[in-house]
């Protein structure tokens, strides 16, 4: 296993290595690998070195926080004051926010060292990161394959050790699915656990920021640092998690009730199903009680997700009109024409498709049949999860029905790609937490991800189960030739 955050922090505190030295190691690795992997789209080495110097100062003074001086990365949809934040879209070309996202404000205060912004599907809309206007990032495990998406860059930089950890955002699986494709850990927290202020919105009622890391403990450490209510995000909740979750990972799973719903295994690649079943068996062998449960509404969770997310997106993305920031069409006949040209030239096809779908489901005559209906089914899905969590402490499911797609994988319809979100979207619809953790590889050597799903604000159980699995499965995470700490 790779050196975790706490070990690095201890080395930094003991001054065995300085933050500047550590940062330089990462700069070297990024310069070497990023031209191939395309995982970072904006590099921030200058500010990183300055941040590292500041971190060294904090470390010298003692009492530095755990994340002080640790190189990390942010998804390109998380606002960073004075630094490019483009959602990997041409329409946000050159956009530098003059404010920080709350998560970045928190990490910066801890002395975090930002190496750059990571590649992603344009506006987080996609499952492969191929809709990025900067081209797709490559999967470090096998560069002929995609990283998954939309937080593909965030998963790739952790996988290739071009950052100790990164933050991604998850609207329908965008942290967990790329984590699964790249063989790293991705945590989607409870909706409201982490402030969304400064996260450029895709589907506001589903979006949530979370960590991508190379160990469960690191995920807990980063989650500890970014969680909490925020007066700038009314949907955030100041939930009392008690002590640090990273200090409470060790838990006896004996007697723990784990739910397994057959709906999650419908149409899943048999290799993946087999690995997940093996993992479930490991839990059972160690005293967990496996409950077979049903979640019938899951079979329509996918269209519900696409309807709600796209409806919100069509509204959220209306503001990109070329007037206040970003790309503006160079020639036009009127302001109206400028707006239409800017949007038509600035957005990629997938974003346009989703804006169109969202516009459709909200338009008069269709609202009741689609948007309203989807919201009502969402309530039903919530009720089903509530009922399941009466009997279970957590659920285990695959993260994705497949392992990483080959690059430029041809599909007959965009819907084919949508279907690959089947295992992750129910979690966003219900606003509950889930983690993706590697549980082996398929016959092509591509990582398989297992999802552990918990009750609202019960990240503790999710992390504890993942930690148990990580410690007992014998599966190595994030072994990568040529990364910063190789």
């Amino acid at each position: 296993m790779r050196t975790g955050i706490s070990e690095l922090a201890s080395k930094l505190r003991k001054r065995e290595i300085s933050a500047v030295e550590l940062t330089k190691t990462y700069i070297d690795a990024i310069e070497k690998l990023n031209p191939t992997l395309n995982a970072y789209v904006h590099l921030t080495f200058d500010t990183a070195l300055k941040a590292a110097e500041k971190a060294d100062q904090m470390l010298k003074e003692g009492d530095a926080p755990l994340l002080c001086g640790i190189p990390m990365a942010l998804k390109d949809n998380i606002c960073t004051d004075g630094l490019l934040t483009t959602c990997c879209s041409k329409i946000l070309e050159g956009f530098k926010p003059y404010y920080d996202a709350t998560v970045w404000e928190k990490l910066k205060a801890q002395g975090a060292v930002l190496m750059g912004k990571t590649n992603m599907d344009e506006f987080a809309m996609g499952s492969t990161s191929e809709t990025s206007c900067y081209g797709a990032p490559l999967n470090p495990i096998n560069t002929a394959y995609v990283t998954g998406g939309s937080s593909g860059g965030s998963a790739a930089v952790v996988c290739a050790d071009l950052a100790v950890y990164s933050l991604g955002s998850d609207t329908g699986g965008s942290i967990r699915q790329p984590a699964s494709f790249c063989g790293v850990i991705g945590l989607k927290p409870t909706y409201g656990a982490v402030s969304r202020y400064g996260l450029i919105a895709y589907g506001s009622s589903l979006d949530q920021i979370g960590p991508v890391t190379s160990s469960v403990k690191d995920a807990a450490i980063v989650f500890d640092a970014i969680k909490g209510g925020d007066k700038r995000d009314q949907t955030s909740v100041d939930y009392d998690y008690g002590d640090s979750l990273a200090e409470r990972l060790d838990r006896d799973i004996k007697g723990m009730r784990i739910g397994v719903a057959e709906e999650f295994f419908d149409g899943i690649n048999p290799e993946i199903k087999y690995k997940i079943m093996e993992a479930i068996a490991l839990f059972e062998k160690n005293g967990a009680i496996i409950e077979n449960i049903r979640l019938p509404a899951l079979k329509i969770a996918l269209p519900v997700y696409y309807i709600i997310a796209c409806a919100e997106a069509s509204s959220n993305l209306g503001r990109y009109d070329g007037i206040r920031y970003g790309y503006r069409a160079s020639s036009y006949t009127s302001i109206e024409d400028m707006i239409v040209k800017t949007r038509s030239e600035g957005f990629g096809d997938e974003v346009k498709r989703r804006i169109m779908l969202g516009t459709y489901v909200l338009s008069s005559g269709y609202y009741d049949a689609y948007y309203k209906k989807a919201c009502l089914i969402r309530e039903e899905i919530n009720r089903e999860f509530d009922a399941v969590f009466e009997k279970c402490d957590a659920l285990i499911a695959p993260t994705a029905p497949n392992t990483a797609f080959p690059l430029n994988h041809k599909v007959t319809s965009p819907v084919e790609i949508y279907l690959s979100d089947i295992c992750t979207v129910p979690v966003n619809i219900a606003g509950i937490p889930a983690i993706s953790i590697p549980c082996g590889k398929d016959s092509k050597g591509l990582p398989i991800g297992m999802q552990i799903i918990g009750k609202k604000f019960d990240e503790a159980t999710v992390l504890q189960m993942a930690y148990f699995y990580e410690q007992n499965s014998g599966i190595d995470v994030g072994v990568y030739e040529g990364g910063a700490r190789a």
Partner: protein
């Protein structure tokens, strides 16, 4: 013209909160362009709205003052349309769960104009078109508004004006808005259709937008009703469209509509949680309401004994009513105070705006000091009026103009001779007094006071008169 007017008015009222509806930026009017702005009110990516409590409170206040039912559960919706003055490309408003519903405003005739709903929403920025360029200032963006929608109960231009006037007055009384139409803090959209009397069906309606004065409301209703009547008389049909009232030509013309504005795709704003208000809070707000204009009007007539005409003038401006009541509280008489305000003070104010502003240089207490001199007949009304005028011009108190010696400034000899003169000139009155009609002595007071210009000490005059009459 043999048609009945069916008219409803939508009124946007800017709320007098300190901060915008979804961020802490000031709502102050004016300012250098884009200096009352932040990421939230300029729609920066990643920013999120946080609802201002005061906006909800003020809207409830308005609802209660307009006899509405308050919905204790409510939420915000997004109204989607793209326009450069709307930085998020949606206006946060309320669609199917407005804060207030089912109220009314009572007109002088006793007719009630129903209020369908009141909801809260945000204002847009300001566009300036100049020499091939369009400039945008977002200082107004996010300023809180309430939209008050009336039922189509209005059936004449006069009623339309009275409705708007009453609405404005009530909003000003409860302090939720200054409702300055010329500054745009109150704007009216008039929906109007015609129908044959007795016809249960409504005709096709038009909407005349953004009318910014009370008299224009009246004129716009008149002009639009005439326009529609002419079309109908000629056998034509009314087109449902948005109109603009042009005050220069006193006519209503179709406005080029914002394109595609017909499908707003409303849906609940996922960034803002629904909110609930408990009944106790509603009652607390109700208890905080001041006396409303109509109640004040009735009290001035029934309790204070003022005429309808005077009462109407005093209640019409919140600050005037406050000044008047302040003077009464200081001991001034109702009648003299009211008459001096309506007669003398108002004669210094030419416009409605000046009366509304009521920026005068003396306090209610200073005014009361003057009124009391008149009440006690130490000065007569003429002197009171001229002295008040001097006080208004200089801002100085009454003592500056009427000295104690002025009040007693006539020698006893002079006074005695005047008293004798009064008796000689009014022999019949003297006889009445001697026969027990004591009140007749007032005639003699009047005579002496007139001769002295109101400056004589009334008690001294009485004593002298009685001595000479022999009582």
């Amino acid at each position: 013209m043999n048609y009945e007017i069916v008219c409803g008015i939508e009124t946007h009222v800017e709320l007098a909160t300190k901060t915008k509806i979804f961020c802490g930026c000031t709502t102050e009017f004016g300012g250098e362009p884009n200096t009352h702005c932040c990421p939230v009110c300029t729609g920066q990516p990643g920013s999120l709205p946080i609802l201002n409590q005061k906006v909800v409170e003020y809207a409830i206040k308005a609802g209660l003052a307009l006899n509405c039912k308050i919905n204790t559960k409510s939420h915000m919706d997004r109204k989607n349309y793209v326009y450069p003055d709307l930085p998020k490309a949606y206006q946060i408003s309320q669609y199917d769960e407005p804060l207030c519903e089912n109220g009314y405003i009572e007109l002088d005739s006793g007719k009630r104009i129903g209020i369908t709903r009141i909801h809260i929403e945000e204002d847009a920025g300001k566009l300036i078109h100049e020499k091939g360029y369009t400039y945008i200032d977002y200082n107004r963006s996010g300023v809180p508004l309430i939209e008050i929608v009336s039922e189509p109960d209005i059936s004449s231009a006069e009623e339309a004006r009275e409705y708007a006037e009453k609405l404005q007055l009530i909003m000003r009384y409860i302090g939720v808005s200054d409702c300055k139409m010329q500054e745009g803090s109150m704007r009216c959209d008039v929906n109007l259709s015609l129908r044959k009397p007795g016809d249960p069906n409504f005709g096709v309606r038009t909407e005349t937008k953004n009318i910014n004065s009370l008299s224009f409301i009246q004129k716009a209703v008149m002009a639009e009703a005439e326009r529609q009547a002419d079309i109908l008389d000629a056998g034509g049909t009314i087109v449902q469209q948005t109109m603009r009232y042009d005050e220069k030509t006193d006519s209503v013309t179709p406005m080029r509509d914002k394109e595609n504005s017909d499908d707003y795709r409303y849906f609940p704003d996922p960034d803002i949680l629904g909110f609930c208000i408990d009944e106790e809070k509603v009652e607390e707000i109700r208890a905080s309401l001041p006396e409303l204009p109509f109640d004040k009007f009735k009290r001035y007539i029934n309790v204070l004994g003022l005429s309808e005409a005077t009462a109407k003038q005093l209640i019409k401006y919140k600050k005037v009513a406050e000044f008047f009541e302040g003077a009464i509280a200081e001991g001034a008489s109702v009648k003299n105070a009211a008459n001096l305000i309506v007669g003398t003070i108002f004669s210094n104010m030419d416009t409605e705006e000046e009366k509304e502003l009521f920026a005068i240089r003396i306090s209610a207490a200073q005014f009361a000091a003057l009124v009391k001199l008149a009440d006690e007949k130490k000065i007569n009304i003429g002197v009171a009026q001229s002295t008040l005028q001097k006080m208004l011009e200089s801002g100085k108190p009454v003592e500056e103009f009427i000295k104690p010696e002025d009040l007693v400034g006539i020698s006893d000899e002079e006074l005695e001779s005047l008293c004798k003169e009064a008796i000689d000139a009014n022999q019949k009155v003297v006889a009445d007094i001697r026969n027990g009609k004591d009140k007749a002595i007032n005639m003699l007071f009047g005579y002496v006071m007139k001769k002295t210009g109101g400056k004589a000490d009334i008690r001294k005059v009485e004593a002298m008169l009685r001595k000479f009459i022999g009582q």
